[in-house]
Amino acid sequence: MTGRISPDLNHDPDETESHKYTPPGVNTLTPEQIPIRFDETWFSYNSEPVVRDINFSITPGEFAALLGPNGSGKTTLMKLALGLLKPTSGRVLLFGVQADRFTDWHRVGYVPQRTQSTESRFPALVREVVNFGAYSGFSPFAIFRRRQSTRVDEAMEMAGIQNLANRRVSDLSVGQQQRMLIARSLVRKPDLLVMDEPVAGVDAAGEEQFHSMIRRLNRELGITIVMVSHDIGAVMREATTIACVNQDIVFHGPVHQLDARALSSLYGFPVDVLMHDPEHTHR
């Protein structure tokens, strides 16, 4: 099944009501079991709010995709969830703890869209960067300790980059850099993996390879995944839930419930969703 958007000029986006969704079982979970929870969260860079009154939770094992136009606040939401930004009001909880006071970082993996270092003459080898994932807090004699090479090797194998271990980071292609960053976050065996447009700039073959890896992490290893994406087709194929963000949550729910009304209200113009599967094509 694939999805794509196309203009639907007969639809009025103003008709759409904000979609409130409570994931099944969320009320039976303890706060510590909920990977991410936004509680009446507001955030503004200056006086203009970028994130307005966000209320939603990501439950364990969920593969949530964050969709939204440029400037809709997706990356800000992720930075709030990771404690890199502090909400102007409301709160964001990471496994039940306020994100900016969270310390249990081995449970969280983060894959940014791009790092500043991969664009310069950064001399580190792939193995050195993946090994950063094994960091477990300050230790004055860490340099003299043996590295956890088994975990690093396993993570590189999972990400399919074991043959790149001794390559210089700045010599890698965009797709290879992404796989290196994923391997780096897998070393710590996280419960939650947050990714910001991980396939931006990756070719079609690399994208397919990436999605099959993420599918495995979510379905076989049970890692909760939150991924910002612009690729609606891939998101509808791979994710279990979708959160459409445009300063506030326009829609949050299972993929099959996402309809043209939600997408229209998200992108601000009439949109039609065409769903394809091998036997039927329907609107």
Binding site: L84, T115, S117, F122, P123, A124, P140, A142, S170
Partner: protein, 306 residues
């Protein structure tokens, strides 16, 4: 024994060169990779203001310079962290502010021109035993910091946000980095002088980035190259009777030019070999395509984008 080692002042100068050459570029790796080379320049001008204050008040120069650079380093880092000033603007304010203070103090106190000259461009004769002890202690602190925080420094240099989510205390580390940059300058100013210390922090790193791979190896290579250019520059300064700051930096730049020229020639050579190869393979592929109707697709993912 060569004549140069018969003088005690020269032995002190060589030991000082080894200390400076080993520490300044090793620390410089993290500054260059984080594009903070201007930090070294700003703090060296602050050190100059410290030198002027110390000469005017007849205080012990390295201590005053260290206090001045530490104060400036903490202020710059706080201004950047609290986003009161953009990073480069904060550096510029301190650079020109400190230079202005130094100029004012120098014009008030006429008469310390020769001492000041030795701090500006380094001096073969100026390193005293007290200086050497002081430099040794600071160099030890710098090396200990780099060894203890090797992983944290590498992570923050790679990506500060990723480091923070990995549990690294980024603000604390940035403060440490800024303060020890000031300490590195204080250590180095006796040998290369405050105006040229930035070059010793940066140039050996640029050479290492060209000739080696791996972060740890880059730090070690920078350190070895730093010792080589500092000692060579000091020896040249002795024989040519010139200020060591100039000869050390010119030695470093000469090595950089040689390495860059070799690297450029190698790239040109590789490109022409590469261009010749497809012509041959195109010929054989043409037969293959013709015979079997096959087409080849280049794997874009395997192409580097440097």
């Amino acid at each position: 024994m060569p004549e140069i080692f018969q003088y005690e002042f020269m032995n002190r100068a060589i030991i000082a060169s080894v200390l400076v050459g080993a520490t300044a570029p090793a620390f410089g790796v993290f500054l260059v990779l984080r594009r903070l080379s201007l930090m070294a320049d700003a703090l060296s001008h602050v050190a100059l203001a410290g030198v002027a204050i110390a000469l005017l008040t007849k205080a012990f120069v390295p201590v005053v310079a260290l206090v001045a650079t530490t104060g400036a380093a903490v202020s710059i880092e706080e201004l950047r962290m609290r986003r009161l000033l953009p990073g480069d603007a904060a550096l510029a304010v301190f650079l020109y502010g400190a230079l202005a203070v130094a100029v004012v103090l120098i014009s008030i106190a006429e008469g310390f021109n020769s001492t000041l000259f030795s701090y500006l461009f380094g001096s073969v004769l100026a390193v005293t035993t007290t200086d050497l002890w002081w430099m040794g202690i600071l160099a030890l602190v710098i090396v200990a910091f780099m060894l203890m925080f090797s992983s944290e420094l590498a992570q923050v240099t790679f990506d500060p946000d990723l480091a923070r989510i990995n549990g690294v205390r980024v603000h604390f580390l940035n403060l440490g980095l800024a303060i020890l940059t000031g300490a590195t300058i204080t250590v180095s100013m006796r040998v290369v002088g405050v105006l040229l210390v930035g070059a010793l922090i940066v140039i050996p790193v640029l050479i290492s980035l060209r000739i080696t791979n791996g972060l740890t190896r880059t730090v070690v290579t920078s350190s070895v190259l730093g010792v080589f250019v500092a000692v060579t520059g000091m020896v040249i300064a002795y024989y040519a009777d010139i200020a060591p700051g100039g000869s050390v930096v010119l030695t470093a730049i000469s090595v950089l030019v040689i390495v860059e020229t070799f690297s450029f020639a190698r790239r040109i050579n590789a490109r022409s070999t590469h261009r010749a190869a497809p012509e041959q393979s195109q010929h054989s592929h043409a037969h293959e395509t013709h015979a079997h109707g096959l087409t080849t697709v280049q794997d874009e993912d395997s192409l580097p984008h440097r």
